[in-house]
Point group: C2
Chain length 369, copies 2
Amino acid sequence: MDHQRIAILAHEKFPDRAKTALGVMRYGDQEVAAVLDRETAGTRVHDHLVESDAATIDDAPITASFAEALEAKAETEAGAGDGGADDHDIDALLVGIAPIGGGLDDSWRADIRAAIEAGCDVVAGLHYFLNEDEEFATLAAEHGVELIDVRDPHEGLGVAEGRAGDVDADVICTVGTDCSVGKMTATMEIVAAARDRGIDAAAIPTGQTGILIEGWGNPIDRVISDFTAGAVEEMILEKGDEHDLLVVEGQGSIVHPAYSAVTCGILHGSMPDALVLCHAAGREAIHGYESFELPPIPEYVDLYEGLSAPVADADVIAGALNTKDVADDATARSAVDELAADLAAPVSDPVRFGAGPIVEAIEAEVLEE
Amino acid sequence: MDHQRIAILAHEKFPDRAKTALGVMRYGDQEVAAVLDRETAGTRVHDHLVESDAATIDDAPITASFAEALEAKAETEAGAGDGGADDHDIDALLVGIAPIGGGLDDSWRADIRAAIEAGCDVVAGLHYFLNEDEEFATLAAEHGVELIDVRDPHEGLGVAEGRAGDVDADVICTVGTDCSVGKMTATMEIVAAARDRGIDAAAIPTGQTGILIEGWGNPIDRVISDFTAGAVEEMILEKGDEHDLLVVEGQGSIVHPAYSAVTCGILHGSMPDALVLCHAAGREAIHGYESFELPPIPEYVDLYEGLSAPVADADVIAGALNTKDVADDATARSAVDELAADLAAPVSDPVRFGAGPIVEAIEAEVLEE
């Protein structure tokens, strides 16, 4: 995205069920003028974040509507004595939540209309495409703004040829015990930590948030299922000879009742050299499918390694534990240690404790071989 | 399909690489006027089939083009002294081959045009949709015929809710060691053999051939990957309280470098009670991906059962071995015995030896529990 200053719609879901919003706020280049959440309007972003998140995410007002976001922005500028409002206009509204199923909630329509009428682009990663919505499409044409559906795959995707293993780069794939355990975050943190150590690393974005952050990528969960692996392979072939390390953003979980197809296609399409298992501390059942218990961690290791082996031999060499729901560092540290014992491999919470131990494992097990 | 008498396009691929053609010829209700294969034109269907296939598939001429198919049909009728040509006109051309990637080969265009110009519908299960081809769409409108893309999923599919396990019917899923090992055939034979024994059984078609035969179904490999399991679940919920046994047509293989996403989505979307593993005798590497060796059979059992367990506990209770490339019954029988030993479960070639042993296993392990 080329936008400089955005508002993010996250009605009734910020921050805990607004992972696209949080991801873009943490890793994106854009300034965030306001978050729209009618439930917590009047508070500020930092009122809702744990310390480790607040350290990496800028504060911003939370407003009930797009109209109020425009006002909040005007007030801020007035307060700061900044006369050049034109330099800092909100130039896009981002839909920062993605409900199960990826539909558009009718209660968001007024804000989307208001944004278009204010001359802002609207960016969304929903399965429901803004460009196919007659009202929005007509209004956007009238106001000369763009509707950007990042989950709309490009034309010309096809079946995998089993060639991802041929690239020069070593390939790491993040895999998960469930949805929403931090695979995208782990991917971004591993790439950043690897770069800090002088490794030429790049992320392979496979979901709307990763695509929004990186500015490119294939939305694998929206691709025709026959082309799932092929759409990943295409990205690996495109970047695989330009970098030394590719970190593929995984999706879903191999035991997810709804999304395992996406997970499996990414695993085989990327033909990884090694896997990083991502988990959320305290998660015991599939998010949103609570009657499905998560199997024990060693079973995940067997499944991911067993499934990978016939296509690309890859072991789980490290773990990334999301401890955002754990109150204190000491408890988080013991959760990390517990997962490390289950995996018999290094583990970190890449946000709370840094991705260093994970990158060290990648260096030892993959890059130096 | 409501068509009575069809021609089947299978250029350069009949019979060994024309599985849609063979499937429709074996299980479909339509009379086949001719097969189009320019490579073997002038021969007849039975010249190319092994005995067990010839027993279940009617003979027909093989012609080089659709025009010749029309002539061949006229000759046959003249020979038979049948004056009522109107009753027996070819009413559809079926594209009976599906290359890797599902594209349209330009060399087929002349036959498709000829069929449309002769007033015939054209039916295809390609990823390339005839209805989106400007030339065909225009021509079809001019001639008042239908272009039927069976691989075009219906609107309104969504994510699975994990509810397929709630239906009254017991659910069997066919799973494979590779593509093109006979999962669709096993599905049809199991359903037929079960009905012969008085079991109220139905097939759940997931691919173009099954859909063509049954006249309904969701083309799972063409569905958005996020909706893969959901599109299977939809069919299970639709039929699950009307029958005692559902047999889900599997696709691909869980270790396929390109298609494993489809396999995984069907496995979890159907939430099966038991699995039937399908294999082709002599197959040692992934079809079309020869650098990928098939793992040993027990590894498949571990993978399919392990992957299924967290969503629906299902064991591999029987095997279906495709022995069409095995010359004699004695050799086929020992191949069957070998797979049975690997699975520690009953195995049959449902075409050569009948699906009886597989249905017996289903009765013993699933229906009677």
